[in-house]
Amino acid sequence: MELKTLAILIPLLPLAGSALVGAIGLRGLKDRSHWLVLAGVTAALFCAVSLFYQVNTELNRGGSETAAAIGAHAQIDPSQQVGYGKLAESFTIYEWIPAGAADWLNVTFRVDPLTIVMLLTVLSVSTMVVMYSVGYMRDHHGHAELGYERFFAFLGLFVFSMCMLVLAGNFLLLYLGWELVGLCSYLLIGFYYQKPSAAAAAKKAFLVNRIGDFGFGLGILLIYLTFNTLDYQEVFNMVANSKMAGDLALSTERITTIALLLFCGAMGKSAQLPLHVWLPDAMEGPTPVSALIHAATMVTAGVYMVARCSVIFAASPIAMWIVGAIGAATALFAATIALTQFDMKRILAYSTLSQLGYMFLGLGVGAFDSAMFHLYTHAFFKACLFLGAGSVMHAMAGEIDIRRFSGLRKAMPITYFTFLISGLALAGVPLLSAFWSKDEIIHAALASSTPWLGWIGLVTAFLTAFYTFRMIFMAFHNEERLPRGVEHAHESGVWMSAPLVLLAIGAVFAGYVGVTTGHGGFLGMFEPHGAFHHFLAPNFSDAKGHEMTVAAAQGVAHGAGEHGSESHWLMWLSSGLAFYGIFNAWYFYTRRPGIPLAIALASGSVYKLFYHKYYVDELYDLVFVRPLRRLGDMCYACDRFVINGILWIIAAIPRAIGFLLRGWQQGAMQGYALGMVVGLVVIMWWVLANA
């Protein structure tokens, strides 16, 4: 099929599934509602794969020209599309909203390597999660939960929204997708809306995102004001061309403002400091939702957006620095909190924050492709971890506190092994997917002008290994203990196990698309920057070509071997740290269980600080929530007494006139005729007087 057809089908198929389930699910399908959504999402995945093959073929055919174009970046004719060549195609689906002089805001889709990477990631994880949900959203007798069809309708809607977000060819459509995924997130976090905590979490997520989205919206408006268009290609061309020509019309301040406003949106959506507070609470939603939306896909939208706008960000060193610094801070901050939590899903949530921090760190030092690579590997192992936690939760009758159970290894072997593999990946154990991607980011950071970001990354890597295995050892090892009310743990059904296994396979092998084999690399075999980076190269060539980005040195040519053997010490170091973290966790939680308690007691206030998540929620409550509430009360009082009063008076006037007019319209012909004649005479007189 043609690219355009495929690009249209990809969002429409899940939407069709979702709409059908919404329309007929409750009455007609009930506990078979999943089939429509599953079919839609799977079909969309096939479309995405087909899209990938077409673009990849194009890439290989035009590979040499593209590489030449990247290499000789400075010589490119400014009028040309920068860097993309034939690889990026924008389709205007139709004209949407008229905007001023013969200008339209269109529904435009854009297909390029970045889009395809995102589509493949989103759709493959979505397919797994939809499959998993079939087993998860049932009780132990296999009866569908209340709201089963609603759940799948929302899930389908989410996949549609996410596809719209990544396929968008202009900022308006991006914003639309951005808000749509936010809406789906809200609906799904609050899926158990009878539960007050879930309703509150949904509200919190929505409100915190509002703050970020406000900035994002302003950023888009500013883009429109500056460039008078919202089309990606036009905006990026203008930024890149003005940069090349040394054009002063587009001031650095303006670009920095745009970049930072856009980043505001990313901070909200990807839960970076200081807007991270909603994500841990979002775990109130059903676990598949946490896996799909709050780990693998939606929360990475911010990373995707920054990568998409890499040209804009790369043009502003300050913005880049801020992105990197916030990423590093979030990575470390969230990892320290994760050390002390006991709720499996919350630990994973903080781990997600921390990993998202890595991605932003990578973006901030200009390693856009490495950040995307980490996004892609992270989706698999983190989704697998969440689904594993869901599997445990399902078996433990909703209990998820790792102090209440242990030793599940025997009873739940599939869950255990998949969880272990993904945990190893998350910890950064060599030869698993995250090892490659995380190391690239740290390497890029160390090679940049801000190497301390890289050191923070290394410390976080150690903490990551530790908290991951603390969780694994506490939950799955030691003697078997079950929470009250659960007679025996049991493995989940095939609907749930199959996605776990598939995702675990992804967690192991997904990284290999990003490495090449070469002599003298890590373990004498592996070099970073493989096919993945080659595929994405056209997207970032422009941003990376800019001398201000630190990664320019490594980014200009993506050939293997360029990375050099000097980086291998880092690989050895980080794998050492990973193993050391795992060993510590093993020693603390299986050998000498007294140590953690002793450390907690000894460290006192520091432990409390971590355990209470740095008191951020309390702080926000004090600084923002309560004053805002008070302001709201004041506004309400004002509305009730002042504005309502004025409105009543205003409404009274037309009401009185209405009363009079109604009296006129009594039905008596004489009155009507009189009115008509008087009216006619008056108008006629006026016409005669003026004509």
Binding site: Y94, E95, W96, I97, P98, G100, A101, A102, D103, W104, N106, A651, P654, R655, I657, G658, F659, L661, R662, Q665, G667, M669, Y672, A673, G675, M676, V678, G679, L680, I683, M684, W686, V687, L688, N690, A691
Partner: protein
């Protein structure tokens, strides 16, 4: 046989192309004949009659659609430039399409009414043949209204549309209110027709021709005696104002709407307004004498604008205290006619100046508004009708608690009501936005203020209905909604939502295309006479030179949404001086 066609046959030998072009009207006539023949063949069967009428409406609509979609060279001798008795172009085809689509929907509604188990006194199943003869007769008249530029034909068409409407209003003859409504309608119709014919006779007396296009050409060359033009044109427009129920010719509207059966009310609320607006635009399109006597045109445009503002305001204010849903919607329809008349005033104002461009935003706004209004108004009436069939009451109290009694109907009704107010994300919002934009673009800010103010107050009475449905549940029993009704209402609601969100641009593009169709007709008419006119200092120039010689800026002939603002400024300055 309708008189119009006899004259047509007498005066003009049709070619095959022309026959095809007037196809839509043959559709209506053929349906009339088919219904009569079927009545003779199978007796008075309401199902057969209804089916035939629906089929006829569908075929007519399809033929009209073909003409609308065809390239604009198809209408051969039927362009107004050739001064025919009968004009068939894409513009008229579009209004025929509107009328026939609407007729199809009204037939669906009527069908449900027949199935709703009303007493014979109200449903009059036995008289379905007469009912459809009258309905199609008025549809034919409405189609004729937009298909001619001849004064006599216009008068005949208006009568053709009106007379069956009078009868159909009083169709439930044992119903006292219906009889009263019919009588009122006929009296007002007679008076306004008289005034209209008086205006037409003045025009004929002065110009010795019945052809409006010819009159327009004469004025463009010789100028016009302003007093005569003002009086005669305004008197002529009174007949049309009556059809669109503009203040002060609106008095018939609420009583007629209340008295007539609900499907008839629905029919009159949209179809006759569409035809009236179409006729107004048609008249403007041939009387392009802005250059020759701008004062007259400005006075007339201002008169229309004042009428529009009054129509809007009186309609909305009167609706405030209505307790009968049909009366409420009647006043609402008056108000909506007012909004559209505002745009008509703009079209008048800029009429004939070359700066108006091919797709004047006001023109396009009218087309968009009437299209959306058709759907949302039908939807609202449909819900009221279904409640009426279930409860036998048309009072607003019958809507109480509808959210519980029939959630689907209630949600649909809220969609229609909010669309009628003009709230996003409904089609009514987009339509109103384009309309306000057109007013703004014409720098007629007072109209914008009136329109916005009216939108605000209209929120009150529409929201009152919504409040009754949602908050004032008085425990009435649930309503069983017929499947056809559900489907029809859902389709209407989807169209309203579509045009308000995803299809906002589609709506705009659609209306722009229709607007271009009319100007494709008009422009050649001007071009024919530019040679004669070019001797005059302030001449029309097809290249886009401004019409007043002193200020000859060249304005690019912009196809889009913005039309040279500078040029418009000059217009409005001239306008101010004129006053």
């Amino acid at each position: 046989m309708p008189t119009g066609l006899l004259i047509l046959a007498d005066m003009w030998m049709p070619s095959a192309d022309d026959l095809a072009a007037i196809g839509p009207l043959w559709g209506f006539v053929g349906t009339l004949v088919a219904i009569l023949v079927a009545a003779l063949a199978v007796g008075r069967n309401w199902r057969v009659t209804g089916m035939l009428a629906a089929l006829g409406a569908a075929v007519t609509g399809w033929m009209a659609l073909r003409t609308v979609m065809s390239p604009p060279t198809n209408w051969a001798g039927l362009s107004p430039n050739n001064s025919p008795m009968f004009v068939a172009d894409q513009f008229s085809a579009f209004f025929v399409l509107l009328v026939s689509v609407f007729m199809l929907l009204v037939i669906g509604m009527w069908w449900m009414g027949q199935n709703a188990g009303l007493p014979e006194r109200l449903s009059r199943k036995g008289d379905s043949v007469e009912f459809f003869i009258l309905l199609i007769g008025s549809a034919f008249g409405m189609s004729m209204m937009v298909s001619t530029t001849n004064l006599l034909m216009i008068v005949l068409a208006v009568e053709m549309a009106s007379l069956p409407s009078y009868a159909i209003t009083a169709f439930r003859k044992q119903h006292a209110k219906a009889a009263e409504a019919g009588l009122k309608y006929v009296l007002f119709g007679a008076v306004t027709s008289a005034i209209m014919i008086y205006g037409a006779s003045l025009l004929y007396g002065h110009y010795h021709t019945l052809d409006l296009a010819e009159i327009g050409r004469t004025i463009r060359i010789e100028g016009a005696p302003t007093l005569l033009m003002g009086v005669s044109l305004f008197a002529f427009m009174v007949g049309v104002a009556f059809k669109v129920s503009a203040v002060p010719f609106h008095f018939w509207c609420p009583d007629v709407f209340e008295g007539a059966a609900i499907e008839v009310t629905t029919w009159l609320s949209v179809a006759s307004k569409a035809a009236g607006l179409g006729l107004m635009l048609r008249i403007i399109s041939v009387l392009t004498f802005k250059i020759a006597s701008p004062e007259t045109l400005n006075t007339l445009a201002t008169a229309i604008a004042v009428m529009a503002a009054l129509t809007c305001t009186v309609g909305n204010l009167s609706a405030f205290r209505q307790t009968n849903m049909k009366r409420l919607l009647a006043f609402s329809s008056i108000a909506h006619a007012g909004y559209m008349l505002m745009a008509v005033a703009i079209v008048w104002m800029n009429n004939g100046s070359p700066t108006e461009g091919v797709a004047h935003p006001a023109f396009s706004a009218i087309v968009g508004y009437i299209s959306v209004y058709l759907v949302m108004n039908l939807g609202a009436f449909l819900v009221v009708a279904m409640v009426y069939w279930a409860t036998g009451s048309e009072s607003i109290d019958a809507m109480n608690g509808l959210m519980r009694r029939s959630p689907l109907l209630a949600v649909m009704m809220v969609v229609f009501l909010f669309s009628l107010v003009g709230l996003p994300p409904m089609g009514g919002f987009m339509a109103k936005l384009y309309l306000l934009y057109a007013l703004w673009d014409a720098t007629w800010y007072s109209l914008v203020i009136v329109a916005v103010f009216n939108t605000l107050i209209s929120l009150y009475y529409y929201a009152r209905v919504a409040r009754a449905m949602v908050f004032s549940d008085d425990g009435q029993p649930a309503i069983r909604v017929p499947m056809v009704g559900q489907a029809l209402a859902t389709v209407c609601a989807l169209v309203v939502l579509y045009t308000g969100t995803v299809g906002a641009g589609t709506l705009k593009a659609f209306s722009d295309d229709r607007a271009k169709d009319l100007y494709a007709v008009v422009k050649p008419g001007i071009a024919v006479h530019t040679a004669a006119e070019s001797a005059r200092p302030d001449s029309v120039n097809e290249n886009g030179t401004l019409w007043n010689g002193q200020n000859s800026t060249t304005v690019p002939n912009n196809d889009g949404w913005h039309i040279g603002l500078a040029a418009r400024k000059v217009d409005s300055d001239r306008n101010k001086n004129g006053e």
